[in-house]
């Protein structure tokens, strides 16, 4: 068969078989038991490129992307403007179609990009060192907890309320089989002083404390005091970020004293893509360097003394250490890390701050406008960043579909009791939202809740 993805022709196949000394390719499969072979067939016709395009375009058309709506949906995945230069560069086939840079002489470009990514993440988070990427935020957090577990003799973990529920679930899955006690603090609508609450929980058995910053509900609760308190107890502090765009304005957790800073960097130029691929990042104090999961790129010199980059500290990794590796992670999110590097290079300090400030300005405006509507309950009391919670009197299941008809994605409906009563919604405002859009949204909400 002549297929564009199968370069060999029948003539070439025959020539090759002759050199191998076989009559027919199927001889090469002779070691597969006949009974197995018989079952392998299934029904699927080849489609030409146009047919596949038509089919997938039809499926794509069955969705309504946020780009066709005015969206206030965040909750762990964030709409942002993506510069045109970004896909143009990251899709260069030398990046796109390369493997892990196991041959550094052929991969200096990739390696330098990863080195730059590590540097940017470390600088942004205020940490000493960052790895070359993790699968996503939740798995990065789970690996951070595993690291804390490995370096500590202690068995208890405290997870502050307000951790992204996706991250909570992954953390539970990753630790279910371990001899540890995970204490997930119960979220409450009106939380008492976090610090005093934590103080009562901390003990000399606490291995680490996990805190999200800003938390899942957008609240800013991470303070130097809190981190000092954790440090004093001998526990490690693990700070989780849903959206590192905030670091354009906020004090980096590292500067405040965090031991490990991990999170989700989808915001750095990655499209929403219905949830993936995204980009987990993992930054640490240098004490934990040799316990870190994932790949690390280091600077070195070549035979001629020329500067270059290599994968380094590979003795932590599975292909050398096998069952003694610090993690099983192998393939990571390399291209997503390059994407983030390009995004941050294009944005620069001013751009990143502008994006962060715009989201905060928008969210505070929208919160103030929404909470002016008598029927809307403002549930975000603490200082918040670019997400906030409101309560709506409607219990109508069709609220979100109805708002979609009007062109809006009204936010994420919080599961009841997490920690808010029914019909609490988490709203996010990206830098793309205009005042006019928000005003129209408020009018629509007002109409809707009357």
């Amino acid at each position: 068969m002549g297929h564009p993805y199968l370069p060999l022709t029948d003539q070439e196949r025959r020539q090759m078989a002759k050199v191998i000394g076989i009559q027919d390719e199927s001889e090469l499969f002779a070691t597969i038991p006949v009974t197995i072979r018989a079952k392998a067939a299934f029904d699927l016709s080849a489609r030409n490129e146009w047919e596949v395009k038509r089919l997938f375009t039809r499926w794509a058309a069955e969705n309504t992307p946020v780009s066709q709506l005015i969206s206030f949906l965040g909750a762990g995945a964030y709409e942002h403007a993506i510069p045109s230069a970004l896909p143009f560069l990251v899709n260069r086939s030398e990046f796109l179609t390369a493997y892990t840079p196991y041959q550094p002489e052929f991969s200096q470009g990739l390696l330098q990009a990863f080195f730059e990514y590590q540097s940017l993440v470390a600088d942004l988070t205020g940490m000493d060192v960052a790895n070359a990427s993790m699968y996503d935020g939740p798995t990065a957090l789970a690996e951070a907890v595993l690291l804390a577990h490995n370096v500590s003799n202690r068995k208890e973990f405290i997870v502050l309320s307000g951790l992204n529920p996706e991250a909570q679930q992954v953390l539970r899955t990753y630790t279910a089989h371990l001899p540890v006690k995970m204490h997930f603090m119960a979220p409450q609508e009106q939380e008492p002083e976090v610090k005093s609450q934590l103080a009562t929980l901390l003990s000399d058995q606490t291995a680490a404390v996990v805190l999200q910053y800003p938390d899942f509900f957008g609240r800013l609760r991470l303070t130097r005091d809190l981190l000092s308190l954790i440090k004093e107890s001998g526990a490690l502090s693990i700070v989780y970020l849903n959206d590192p765009i905030c670091l354009g304005l906020l004090e980096p957790p590292g500067t405040m004293g965090a031991d490990l800073v991990v999170g989700e960097a989808q915001s750095f130029g990655l499209p929403l893509s219905f949830g993936g691929p995204y980009l987990g990042f993992f930054a640490a104090k240098k004490d934990f360097l040799r316990n870190m999961p994932g790949r690390l790129v280091g600077k070195t010199t070549d035979l001629d003394g020329k500067e270059g980059f290599v994968l380094t500290l590979q003795t932590r990794e599975q292909h050398i250490r096998r069952e003694k590796a610090t993690s099983n992670i192998c393939t990571n999110q390399a291209l997503c890390a390059i994407t983030a590097t390009i995004y941050l290079s294009l944005l620069g300090p001013t751009g990143l701050k502008e994006v962060a400030l715009s989201t905060v300005r928008n969210s505070h405006y929208l919160y103030s406008q929404l909470t002016r509507i008598p029927a809307v309950q403002g549930l975000s009391l603490e200082p918040f960043f670019h997400e906030f919670v409101i309560g709506l009197p409607t219990t109508d299941e069709s609220f979100i579909p109805k708002m979609k008809e009007k062109g809006f994605l009204p936010g994420y409906r919080l599961p009841s009791g997490q920690p808010f009563s029914t019909n609490a919604y988490l709203l996010y405002t990206s830098e793309l939202r205009t005042k006019a859009e928000m005003d129209r949204f408020c009018e629509e909400i007002e109409r809707c809740v009357q």
Partner: protein
Amino acid sequence: KAGPVLLNQASVPGRRGYLPPVSDLTTPEEELIPSAFRRTAPLNLPELSEMDVTRHFTQLSQRSFGVDQGFYPLGSCTMKYNPKLLEDLASLPGFRDLHPLQDESNVQGALRLIYEAERIFATITGMDAFTLQPAAGAHGELTGLLIMKAALRDRGELEREIILIPDSAHGTNPASAALAGFRVQKIPSSAAGIIEPEDLKPYLSPQVAGLMLTNPNTLGLFEEKILTITQMIHDIGGQVYYDGANLNAIMGWARPGDMGFDLVHLNLHKTFATPHGGGGPGSGPLGVKAHLAPYLPVPRVVSTPAGFKWSYDAPRTIGKVKGFWGHFAVIIKALAYIYSLGFDGLKQASSDAVLAANYLQTLLKEDYNLPYDRHCMHEFVLSGLKENPAGVRTMDLAKSLLDYGIHPPTVYFPLIVAEALMIEPTESVTLDLLDSFVAVMKELAEQAKTTPEKLKEAPYTTPVRRLNEAEAARHPVLKW
């Protein structure tokens, strides 16, 4: 020529690379964020123009090498050609701009695609149910092992804490097993390079939770006794896990499900032509037989008369292994690749991959040691040079290939072969390409006899020459 300086060195204060959209509100920062939370130190990000960024990353790309640049016979990694159609489909706005938490009514096409991908993966592998959540092959392994662990807990058999793993296995197998809380017991390969039931027997015990196997294995050999092996494990109450890294050898020819495997992961970025991206993102969907399906991560897509829905109704689930639903954009690509080839095309792809490997093996074994001299599947492992008076090492051969514009094979793996050169041409080859590779390999064999010193100092034409990896590890410099 020197490469581009680091981003921070190229930075010039005041330069802009992108003007983002900004809020039309002007509330002062101080009114929005209490001072305790506000950043004190300036942001240390590079300041560059769009042109600077474009040239920087274009230059970095020019110092990188992918499948589009040339031959990449990297054993165990299946570096096949990545059709450009796949990129177009993944960037359709109706997929690309979809938020994972949008209401089901907004995302029926996406749910349909996931549903269809699960169905087709199950069909290709002979499994009963699939999850697309795992982010990569190793992540699929972990997911599978956590499912095995959960099933053991349910059955009250947590004393089963041993996972049997052949000595030829990928390093991720033992690492994943350890991460899931198992102990690893290594199984020796036979002289023929495969697992012999007799050799396996001594390791069977009530503590065994299961066996992880790659088939064909990393020597490129099909485990012929596979039906006996899986039966033996089942007989002692264990599960058998299929590491799908080598599935490209047998698509359409054999299915792990029919071999008796209980769990299978796929590497979409290997078998199904999604680009590797310099080391990721991958995608490692996991398939299981019906008895393990209740343990799969949530949510699952279900088809209802009212359309596709997310279902969290799975009391025995291990939970989530990843945020959201997996690497959706990668799954789009893999599914498009499968549809493009169809059954006949997939079978032909495997057949071509195996043919190409055997062709190279036949011609290269004249000059290189072939420890397991029989027909291989999609890859084979050489063990250094036949005639090697000067002790040229596999690393020297690998580095020498760089000067010919060829990406070297995997080296020093599997661990059971000395001076291993693991060669996987894939089906993305032409006869010309294979012949020119053979010619280069023969030339290197010749040079090993005549000018071995030259090989030991290679490469010569790359942007940098051999790098001091020991120094990098001894004094790690990991940021600017």
